[in-house]
């Protein structure tokens, strides 16, 4: 078998463009890789082989005919299964959508295809995005490519694992409370949750609409920047996209660049270390993060300790809002218009709905119930209203910090990856793992996870970078720096 699957996306694109390789040939090799590896990882829910081959052939033809070529030419991209792709099943890893085929494309899909990327298949996840391990899936858990007995992280576990195990160079995930960054940290790849509103949510099956964003996952920073460039920007189909007047300016065109290391050093970024959060993480995580911080100091970055207040309220606020919105977003799944085959004739409306909805997984059901509770009339002020006010307080905290710093650094996860099955019965323990990631969702600011190192047992550890809203360029710069120093794009599991 060839080695083409090891290439990062941008190199694949270059070689295809230069006709060093053919798209069709490359795709076929990728299929071989997927077929070989995914039995162990379980990152794919559905694959698109026929139309992918067709698309690859079209691309080869386009090149021959000297037609205009997109920036992501020939790059195969895996799509988390809660993002709508026309004609492909979009199941959200749930039994209740096991036969749902969307009649339309999410905006991000249209934009990727416009740049001649190839949508290769749909990736496994925690059901409806609710989870931190990708164990809560109707299609079975996703296995960590670094050690298959361990979880891949969630909820975009399939997206991170597929990239990590060299099945695809780039994938899309979604992040509501850490769902891109957590699996990236556990699988040693790069992932970014963009600023709220930077990327259109049209076509993303909503879990918690005021918190979530779609973002790219890849092994190298160049691929992250290229993919983000292709999908970001205001969308008339999503009124919450990039319309925030204050920060974004009027219809600002976003384009992220890869700078040289010298250029990055020359920008004199001020780095803030969120000490109180680093301190609460597991020993090996702490150690690894400190090593990265030292690297920054060695290169004369301005590095200072700081802390963020109110973080202990943040987790409760996050779950109040997420479950509340989820309980409403998931109401539409009553199996009448779409879902799975179960004839309603003869049934009474209420009992039919309750019965088909029992096909939700346990975790999803629990969150719906909690969310319903939190929104009921007597409790609205106590929970939901208060949680929203806490968001503003946390945003203000970040505003203060970003007056002093350009980027903030902390771990992505407080612990190392854990074994499959270890925490399934302990929801609250799982919720507590989100403590570092939910902050940026609440505040709407961008956050990136990059590979930072490994534990003694060879389990990946991730470093998290935060910047102010619409300041993704800082994150890309810092990531470029670390990639140059650590060459983490060459850290590949032996699978």
């Amino acid at each position: 078998m060839g080695e083409l699957h090891k290439l990062p996306g941008y190199q694949v694109s270059q070689k295809i463009r230069n006709q060093e390789i053919f798209a069709e040939e490359y795709i076929s090799q990728l299929f071989e890789r997927i077929d070989k590896v995914d039995l162990k990882i379980n990152s794919f829910i559905s694959k698109n082989y026929e139309s992918v081959l067709l698309k690859a052939k079209q691309i080869d033809k386009k090149i021959k005919n000297n037609e205009k070529l997109g920036s992501l030419l020939g790059i195969p991209i895996g799509i988390k299964d809660n993002i709508s792709v026309l004609g492909l099943k979009t199941t959200c890893a749930s039994r209740i959508l096991q036969e749902y085929v969307p009649p339309y494309n999410a905006t991000v899909i249209d934009r990727l295809e416009k740049q001649d990327a190839i949508i290769i298949g749909k990736l496994n996840m925690d059901e409806f995005g609710m989870g931190t391990s990708s164990e809560f899936s109707h299609y079975g858990p996703v296995h960590n490519p670094w050690n298959q007995e361990y979880v891949a992280g969630g909820s975009s576990g399939g997206s991170a694992a597929a990239v990590s195990s060299l099945q695809v160079p780039v994938s899309l995930g979604s992040d509501t409370g850490g769902s891109i960054r957590c699996p990236c940290s556990f699988c040693s790849v790069i992932g970014i949750k963009p600023t709220y509103g930077l990327v259109s949510r049209y076509g993303l099956v909503s879990y918690s609409n005021s918190l979530e964003q779609i973002g790219p996952i890849a092994r190298t920073v160049v691929d992250i920047a290229m993919t983000l460039n292709a999908i970001c920007g205001r969308d008339s189909n999503d009124n919450t996209s990039a319309s925030s007047s204050a920060s974004a300016g009027i219809d600002q065109q976003f384009e992220y660049k890869i700078d040289s290391v010298d250029g990055i050093l020359g920008k004199n970024y001020k780095v803030g270390i969120i000490d109180n959060l680093i301190d609460s993480s597991e020993y090996q995580v702490k150690e690894t993060v400190h090593k990265k911080i030292n690297l920054l100091k060695e290169h004369d970055f301005s590095v200072h300790k700081t802390k963020i207040n109110y973080s202990d309220f943040a987790l409760a606020a996050y779950y109040v809002i997420a479950t509340a919105e989820a309980s409403s977003n998931l109401s539409r799944f009553d199996n009448i218009r779409y879902g799975f085959n179960y004839n309603p004739e003869g049934y009474e409306w209420n009992s039919y709905s309750s019965h088909v909805r029992s096909n939700f997984g346990e975790e999803v059901k629990r969150r719906i119930l909690v969310g319903s509770f939190v929104l009921s009339a007597g409790y609205y002020g106590k929970y939901y209203l208060k949680a929203q006010k806490i968001r503003k307080i946390i945003k203000n905290e970040f505003n203060k910090l970003f007056k002093l710093f350009d980027v903030l650094v902390l771990p992505t996860m407080p612990i190392l990856p854990f074994r499959i099955g270890e925490k399934v019965a302990k929801p609250l323990e799982l919720y507590n793992l989100d403590i570092y990631t939910i902050l940026s969702n609440l505040a709407g600011i961008p956050a990136m996870s990059i590979p930072a190192g490994f534990s003694k047992e060879g389990l990946p550890i991730g470093l998290q970078l935060l910047s102010n809203e619409f300041n993704e360029q800082v994150l890309i710069d810092i990531a470029t720096f670390f990639e140059h120093e650590d060459k983490f794009n060459e850290w590949i599991p032996s699978i």
């Binding site: 009649p103 409306w349 949680a387 609250l428």
Partner: protein, 104 residues
């Protein structure tokens, strides 16, 4: 909050979720745990300034002029998403064009 068996039953009806009798106690326990955890929010007292904040300051805003114009979309059959395909959305169960639902 005093969650008990009846409260859970009510929540299940409100959310149209069927939970097996054998599972109700377990679910109840886990939910109770989560809601107790939420009570952390009570510890945070908002100062006067924060109390006064208009409800949802994290909410994005949009100017009236930036809203969608009242123009029909050009698709011939409205349900397809691309290029005038004639097929309408593939509903699960249909009769003479209507969607079939359970009796009410």
């Amino acid at each position: 909050m005093s969650t008990n068996y009846n409260d859970i039953k009510k929540l299940c009806t409100l959310s149209r979720l069927e939970i097996d009798e054998s599972e109700i106690q377990k679910t109840l326990d886990k939910i109770k745990e989560t809601i107790l955890f939420f009570n952390k929010l009570d510890e945070l007292e908002l100062n006067d300034n924060e109390q006064e904040m208009s409800f949802n300051d994290m909410k994005t805003e949009i100017k009236i002029d930036d809203l969608r114009e009242d123009l029909k979309t050009s698709k011939s059959s409205n349900v397809d998403g691309i290029n005038g395909k004639e097929t309408s959305f593939n509903f699960l169960n249909r009769k003479n064009g209507y969607v079939i639902g359970p009796r009410i």
